[in-house]
Symmetry: C2
Subunit: 155 residues, 2 copies
Amino acid sequence: MAKTFPDRQRTLGSLLRLPYQALQSAVYGALAERGFDDIRAAHSAVFRHIDADGTRLTVLAERAGMTKQSMAYLVDALAQAGYLTAAADPQDGRARRVLLTRRGDQAMTALLELSADFEHRLAERLGTARMARLRTLLEALADVVEIAPDGANAT
Amino acid sequence: MAKTFPDRQRTLGSLLRLPYQALQSAVYGALAERGFDDIRAAHSAVFRHIDADGTRLTVLAERAGMTKQSMAYLVDALAQAGYLTAAADPQDGRARRVLLTRRGDQAMTALLELSADFEHRLAERLGTARMARLRTLLEALADVVEIAPDGANAT
């Protein structure tokens, strides 16, 4: 039992996860300060995957890699808080799409701004050249992850 | 509403999150194939933060940035599956520590091996020099994230 544990080693996983969590925490913290204090980081699974003209619940769940039930839980909470609404699907009248309301659209705009702000502040500290190299390498990593064995696809 | 949405842009957040999710999915998928098929990626919040000589539930929750209730839910599931046990805290007889069982220790060993394997395969595809540069830049990013404004700490 004298094993060292993942977060104390710097595994690739922790090197990816920790800045991502910091970004999420900063962005959703600042979102609350802008008056969207009923939106949690968990709701990002909805905002990240919803299309401008609405998306079916099953498609949202698929894109987020979640069960339909878990996605429905997030969608219901955001609908009750006034960020989402439902409408008939134009391609299939029996199906329903989830849509951003005007308030949901405002939250989305704020999320995109705050995320860009945070990235900009990090780039200032890291140096723009290093941030550009980091982005290039992360894009290359995304390409090799997509062809990695063992069903390692993100979607 | 003609906005583009975060995952279709390559935000820094999505560039960090997507390979992390791929890694988690590969590692926990392979863990199931090794016979640990009752361990889910969500349980990583426990394995990642538990000390070799056990950790209090409140400390686990703090380290993972979760509520005590959410952490208790994960810990209970892993205890029922035989991976964790509880013992009195040597520093405070009234408090209890969560400990890995022998089976939990085997799961941890497998997790560390699988994570290192996955990283090794990615390094082969990316090239070891590029993987080394990526790691160096991610470590630099971790340093600037820690001093970022807006309460952006990961812990």
